[in-house]
Structure formats: structure tokens, C-alpha cells
Symmetry: C2
Subunit: 428 residues, 2 copies
């Protein structure tokens, strides 16, 4: 029986090998959505403005549109005098031209009249009569205004493909009149939970030995954070035939008599990424691997990652659908999915620039042991600038809920000593 | 006319005064939602587990449940022998007891049989016959298992009120069988845009002097990021009567003949927070202030913030609804709303712990001038560890879309010199 523990992992890879080597080619199709729904969505192409922005010269101060040359040399002691030739109205085409020796009253945001090349702040003027202004300071060309193409030249790129849209990007698109945006469809990510011990979270009374499926709702949340649309393929017992049927049905969008689907996540209906939250015992993991291997080419890419927690991770490609087999322990499953799974969901969803994550520099309060070649993820609780490592079984979810974030012991390190400065990635 | 520029701001406050002094008492009501929809939502109360988690002692390794005392002194040279008394089955109540001198086979996750106080890894055993195991290493009590209450004791708090729910929190609630969560309703945040120059983003052809409303969609996105539900009260001309009517109707959830509502945001139907994206000229801002002042008590709290960009900010309370009057320039409006508005939306939505923001330490490539007592927000583009400040009119949205984040010149500083280490808050 010892031999079984050793043949458990066939093709162990490092996390960096998995990051660089397991890159699915699959991309979701492009769909066009309303701008108001586009926050965080991933543009499928570069979007350019059809015309210059703001589109006309605009005052950026309240004052007078002038020809700057008419004001050269003006001072409080020796003002220049300009005839007031009218007022530029907000939101209307300019009615007056600024001819030499004249000025036009203008408010912030109003269009610059023809002839003007600067706007003089009202504070730098006096109005001795309603028809005349005294200029107390010279204006320089371009002062107090923005040019017609200063926000964007015609054809300028407003958003890059692959970077999720931020609030200001939506504003810029709206300014250009772009109210429909071509984006990658959200990847449909199906979750299948396996394990004879698992029951739905809605189960009120547990029999001894039963546990509720805590991984599926947490994984669904991580999938949403990565821009995916989670669905639930059900809880499957640790039985190769049942598992194979459910996996095949989920990949094929068929129906499957084996699955028990409960809760408010939608049922899966085909998928772009398949997540198997595997049974926790060695035997259950072997069954998962065998079931995935039986489904199709090219099949299993790695079985086992040099990662703690998270060694029993399986990465596969079944007919172009990336399959992520997660460890059965909830904490391990969530660590692996945050590290590897969210990245895969983003790739499939066309995202090439993940949003930055919150981090903080902190000092370890205790030693973190590790092994060379293995990546360790250690949850920490922050206290001022101290990061206190939280140790315990990878079956304990409470370590994740107590933690403020996590530190990483890199593959090259054999551990980190207490007092070491580390970067803590904060949960949000 | 110079006097007008000076009477523009009646009650200028510092940003720190606004942060500490303008704290609305309003809170949204509590609603109960499904766990699967609860990511990022704000629990309205402390939620405790009704029973211990995992609820029974569980193996965390594959091996044999034993009485640790039976293995004391065991070694490869002098093994202990235990009778194999059966197997603990996954998801089922234990059938066998571990009596002195016996062991029960057990897989990771299976319930610990009565009598056992440790699980010995399979690697530390041999099986000379099917009924006997050889123990090659002693087990210590508690090894290879978790206790019935190790993830949570009965009554332990699983989530704190006021902190938005994270993926792992949803997992923990599911483990405890809590599938409905009492949360604060999303604050309904109405946006009203004012300005004679503004037209809806859907306007295809602009007349000279017209600009599309770019602030409303960007503000709606920031409101969503803060947990609010945006609605749109329409574009209102710079006319006190029209503005007063629209404000009153939006606060009262009435209908209003003045407003022009276009686009896919829902129309406002009453609100918990009112955002007025004000006209950009001094005159338009005066009208906004007058309209708000006419609506009710206690009225305007501050008119003008020591903030750049963003001075023409108005904070008010109309009958218990916080009102945020934003500057007309889109960049200023978004800076102010990110700093002040999102905070107010969170407070009203019961959020007392905002999620951490991504930051990075960087070196300024240029001097940032400021004035003592004024907070400056400066957009920067990152290049390695360098933060390059982006300067330009506060009417330019492109500064925000080009930027990777922003640096803050604190109120106490009169500026920051090139080369200074600053914290950059990254946009995501």
C-alpha cells in the first residue's frame, strides 16, 4: 500500500511550469453589449474615437476669449483695452468672432469663438463700462482653454483589447459616442463537486460523516471575480462511471441522471472551462484522473503541482476545454484556484492584463519552512506591519476567513526566516 | 465681476474635515439574499455557525485511525502490531470502534471512529497480512486529523457585520448551512447631470459646443464598485427651476417633465444618495447650490473643498439624503467621487471596512507643486518604479484613461520634489 502513495502523482510540475506551459488556446466569442453594462468587461478589439475630443476649443476658466497678441505687455499699471463683442453661449455654436482688439465673454466649458487663441481669467480683468474690458495681465496663446483634439485626436485608441474596462474608460467611450462595446463573452465555467461525503449547502441536518459543499460557492465567487460566469454541474459520488458521465455531460451540454443539482447557481449548459472540486482521498483523486483521462485528447497535462497547499492539482485539456482538477481540501482548492484557475478563466475570456491586486509590505513574525522547488502559499493575519502566519490543516477554511492575505515562499527558497520583509497579497 | 469669483465658495473645508465631519446617518434597510448572490455584499449582522465545524473528527491523511498510546515506542526496528478492525467509510457514520490494540483504515476526509485519537499515515505502516498492520513510527494524539470543532466552535462568528463578503466567507457560510444572508440593501444612488452643453452619450451628431455626458456612465461604474445601484435622473439644463424640479422629483421618487433620460441605466425611483454632476461654469455651480439649498433642511454642509482637482464640490444633506454636488469637469468629478462619493455610498450601505486598494511604491519623476492645507490628487503613469505625473486641464478625461493610478500630496505638504518615494494607488 505504500507504493500507492508513491504512484499517486504521475507528472508533477512546478507552478512556474504550469503558468508558462498550460495556456489554453480557447477564447470566448465576441459579443456586443451596452456601455452601461461594460464595467470590468474585456474589450475584444481596440476602440478608436471617430472624431476629435472634445471636438471644439473650450474655455477651462470663466473670463474672456481674446487674441493673445492683443494683450502683450498689459499690466495693472498699463492695462490693454478690448471691446466686448458679445458672449459665447454654453452648448451653442459661437455667434461672435474675436476680431483684433475685441474680446468675447465666455464661461468654463463654452466653445471658443473663431479668432480667439486664449481665455483670460475674469480675475485678470476689470470692466469699466459694459462695452469695454481692461486687461491687467497678458495672456499666452493656449492659456485658459483646451484644443479641439486635446482629449483625443480623431482615430486615437480609447481602450486596448484585453484590458478590463475601468470607470474612466467608460467615460471616455461615452464622450466619443460609443455606447455599444465589442467584448469577449464571459467564460462559462462549470463546477463539479465530487465526494461521497459531500451534500448541498442547503442540507439542514447532517448525518455523521457528511459535510456541506463549501468549495462550490467559494469557487463560483472567484470565477466571478475573474470575469467568468459560474454554473454548477452538481455533486457526484466517488464513482468512476458517475463521474465520467457527469464530466462528459457537462462538457457536451447534455443531461445527466447522476448529478444532484441544488442551490441557486444555474445548471451548467456546456462550458468554456471545467472545474472539478475533487474528492479528498487518494482513491477519489485517482478516480477523477482516470475519468478525465477517459474523456478525450489531448488529456492530462499535469497531475501534481509543486505547491503547498495544493499538490493534488490536475490540469488537463479535453477537446479544447481546459479542465482544472482541484484538491479536495477546501483551503487547498481555493488557493489553487486563485493562483491557477482565475488566470485560466481570464485567458479564456480574452483578458491579457489582470487588474492589479492589493498588496502590502510586512515583516514575518515566524519562520516559514518550505522545500526548494516548491511554491508555498501561507495565509497571514496583519497586525500593523507584522504578518503573522496562520498554520493548520489544509482542510480548515477558517484559516482563509481569518486571514487578511497571504505571503508566497518562492520556488527557489527553502523557507523564509522570521523578520523577513515579504509582500502580502491582501484578500478583497 | 471679480467679486463673483471670490464669493463663489461660501464654506470651504479641507478633505480631512469632510471625511470626519460629513458622515451621513442614513443606512439602507436589511434584506435577505441567497448565498450565491452574496459576493461583495455587506452583512448587516454578525453571523454565527449553529454547530461545530467540520462537526466530527476527520482524517487529514490516508492511513489508519489508532489510539496513539498503542503506538508509543514503535520503530522500523521494533514495530507495534495492531489488528485491522475495519474501514471508516467516507460520508457515513463510523461503524467500527478503535479499541485498544486495533486500528481502522481511513481515507482523508472520513470521520474518525470512536476511540481513535490520531491517524497514522499509510507510509508509516506495513501490512504483513490483511488483518494486521505493522506500525513503524509512533503517532502523537491529534496527528493526522482535525477535531470536530477545529474549523469553528458552535456559535463562533463566521462573518463580521460591515465587511463585504469575500469568496472564502461564502465557503464558510455554506459549510455551516447558511444559504440566506441578511445584508444591507444596495444604496440606490441617483445621478443627475446638469449643463446646457450636455447631450446623451447616444447622440450621434454633435452640434458645435455640445459634449456628450461622459461623467454619468463613469460615475455609475464607481457607484457599482462601492456597492451601490446607480440610476439616472437625466440631463438638466442650467436653469434653477428645471434643476430644482428634477432634484425634488428624484429625492421624492416623483415624475418630472423636465428631465431627458436616455441610455440603459434605469430611471431613478427615489434614492439613498443623490449625485449632481454639476455644470462647469461658475454660474451653473451657483444655480446648483441655490437649487439644493431651496430643497430642505439641514441643507448645504460645505461648498468648496481644499482639493485639486475638485474644489467646486458641494456636500449637503436634504432631509436625510446625502447630496454630492460634483465639479463639472469630468476628471475633477471622478477624482472627487472616488475620494468622497464612494466612501459615502459605502457608509450608507453599511460597509465599515472597505476592501483594500492596490498600491505600489514609486519614485516621482517630476516635482508636484501644491499648497499647504490643500490635498492634491495627481494621476501618474508607471514605468518600472517611476511614477510620471500627468498634468493638464481637469476637463481632460484622457489623463485618467492614460494613468495607471494616482499619487496624493497630503494637506500638510506644500509639494513633493522629484525623486520622492510616494505610494501610488492603482486604478483597477
Amino acid at each position: 500500500m505504500t507504493a500507492r502513495g508513491q504512484r499517486e502523482f504521475f507528472t508533477v510540475k512546478t507552478v512556474s511550469e504550469a503558468m508558462s506551459g498550460f495556456r489554453p488556446a480557447r477564447r470566448t466569442p465576441v459579443e456586443t453589449i451596452a456601455l452601461d453594462d461594460a464595467l470590468g468587461r474585456v474589450p475584444a478589439e481596440s476602440i478608436a474615437t471617430p472624431h476629435a475630443l472634445p471636438g471644439f476649443g473650450r474655455a477651462t476658466v470663466d473670463g474672456f476669449a481674446v487674441r493673445a497678441a492683443d494683450t502683450y505687455g498689459a499690466s495693472e499699471g498699463l492695462p490693454s483695452y478690448l471691446d466686448l463683442a458679445g458672449e459665447a453661449r454654453m452648448g451653442r455654436p459661437p455667434e461672435e468672432e474675436v476680431r483684433p482688439g475685441t474680446a468675447v465673454a465666455i464661461a468654463t466649458g463654452a466653445p471658443l469663438p473663431p479668432g480667439a487663441d486664449a481665455v483670460l481669467k475674469i480675475e485678470y480683468t476689470q470692466s469699466p463700462t459694459p462695452e469695454l474690458i481692461e486687461v491687467l495681465r497678458p495672456a499666452t496663446p493656449g492659456e485658459g482653454m483646451v484644443r479641439a483634439d486635446e482629449d483625443a485626436a480623431p482615430g486615437a485608441e480609447l481602450t486596448r483589447p484585453g484590458r478590463p474596462l475601468r470607470p474612466q474608460d467608460l467615460g471616455m467611450l461615452a464622450a466619443a459616442g460609443i455606447t455599444d462595446v465589442p467584448v469577449h463573452a464571459r467564460p462559462r465555467v462549470a463546477i463539479i463537486s465530487t465526494g461521497d461525503e459531500l451534500v448541498a449547502a442547503s442540507t439542514t441536518e447532517l448525518a455523521p460523516g457528511q459535510v456541506r459543499d463549501s468549495s462550490a460557492p467559494a469557487l463560483a465567487a472567484l470565477i466571478r471575480e475573474a470575469g467568468g460566469e459560474p454554473s454548477f454541474g452538481g455533486i457526484v459520488p466517488d464513482d468512476r462511471e458517475a463521474l465520467t458521465n457527469t464530466l462528459a455531460a457537462t462538457l457536451r451540454k447534455g443531461s445527466d441522471p447522476f448529478r444532484r443539482v441544488e442551490g441557486s447557481l444555474p445548471e451548467s449548459d456546456g462550458c468554456d472551462v471545467l472545474v472539478v472540486s475533487a474528492g479528498s482521498s487518494v482513491g477519489a483523486r485517482d478516480e477523477t484522473a482516470a475519468a478525465i483521462a477517459s474523456l478525450g485528447e489531448p488529456g492530462i497535462w499535469c497531475h501534481g503541482l509543486s505547491l503547498k497547499p495544493g499538490k493534488p492539482t490536475l490540469l488537463a485539456d479535453v477537446g479544447g476545454v481546459p479542465v482544472i482538477g482541484l484538491p479536495g481540501n477546501p483551503r487547498s482548492a481555493l488557493v489553487v484556484f486563485r493562483l491557477i484557475g482565475m488566470r485560466i478563466v481570464r485567458i479564456v475570456g480574452g483578458c491579457t492584463e489582470a487588474p492589479p491586486e492589493p498588496t502590502v509590505q510586512a515583516r514575518l513574525t515566524r519562520d516559514l519552512p518550505s522545500a526548494a522547488g516548491r511554491l508555498d502559499i501561507v495565509q497571514v493575519r496583519m497586525s500593523g506591519e507584522d504578518a503573522e502566519p496562520l498554520f493548520g490543516s489544509s482542510s480548515l477554511l477558517s484559516i482563509l476567513t481569518t486571514a487578511d492575505g497571504y505571503a508566497v515562499v518562492p520556488e527557489a527558497a527553502t523557507g523564509l526566516a522570521a523578520g523577513t520583509e515579504v509582500e502580502v497579497i491582501l484578500y478583497r
